[in-house]
């Protein structure tokens, strides 16, 4: 097979998204949960770019660019929230931050 079918890129994107979702549910450290969210955003970006190749239009690249910008903003705010949680609670385990639990 000389060239790669586009469905391989989409399947890779699905696998990466599934792994990110698994990390989001499975991990206990706030920072790792946050990194799993970034992994899911990256997987979605890959499928945006792949569909952009399929349609031969670069609108998908623009969406991917916007996702990147929003992810950067989200990382700045999220890490500031993590810093505040650590300052007030002294922990990074999401199990131990449960004061809104009934």
């Amino acid at each position: 097979m000389p060239h790669v079918p586009l469905s391989w890129y989409l399947i890779l994107s699905a696998i990466l998204f599934a792994l990110g979702a698994a990390g989001f549910v499975y991990r206990k450290s706030v920072i790792t949960v946050f990194m799993s969210i970034e992994l899911m955003l990256n997987a979605v970006n890959l499928s945006f770019v792949a569909f952009s190749y399929q349609l031969h239009r670069i609108d998908g690249h623009i969406y991917s660019f916007f996702v990147m910008v929003v992810a950067a903003a989200e990382a700045a705010v999220g890490l500031a929230i993590i810093l505040t949680i650590f300052k007030n609670r002294g922990t990074l385990q999401i199990d131990e931050v449960d004061s809104m639990k009934l």
């Binding site: 586009l6 699905a14 499975y26 790792t32 990194m35 770019v49 660019f65 916007f66 910008v69 705010v77």
Partner: protein
Amino acid sequence: MDTVLFIIFATIAVVSAVSLVLQKHPIASALSLIGVMGSLAVLYLLLGAEFIAMAQMFVYAGAVMVLFIFVIMLLNAGSEKSSGKSWFAQIAGLPLLIVFAVVMGFVIKRGFTDLRVVEFGSWVGGTAEHIGQLLFTRYLLPFEVVSILILIAILGAVVLARKEID
């Protein structure tokens, strides 16, 4: 050559993603995430998205990950303790993950029948020139909105990370 490059970097991406989920230490997870992002940048290049590949390296693998590693080292985050409470995740996690990936693969194979074959260099649409033209004409309003969003995020981060919170 395309197939070889795709298989190499897709393997690096998947192995790094698995390592991100399985590593106990946050620094190891962050380095795995950098591996995922770098290999995804190569895949973007194979898809003809030059600008997005460079932005991926600069913004994600550069700025965002430096921020992550900075916070991990600032908080001196150690290995996470495994709490034995999530028995459902222990038992059902891996089967559900495999079922999800298989279903998605099936849907992609069946749902998109006329997908193109990726050939490196056959379509170069994503240069900075093309992206810039579209960004400043048709997508001008979203561009401005996103810049305001970035401004608000900067202010929010500064306010949240102040010394006294209340």
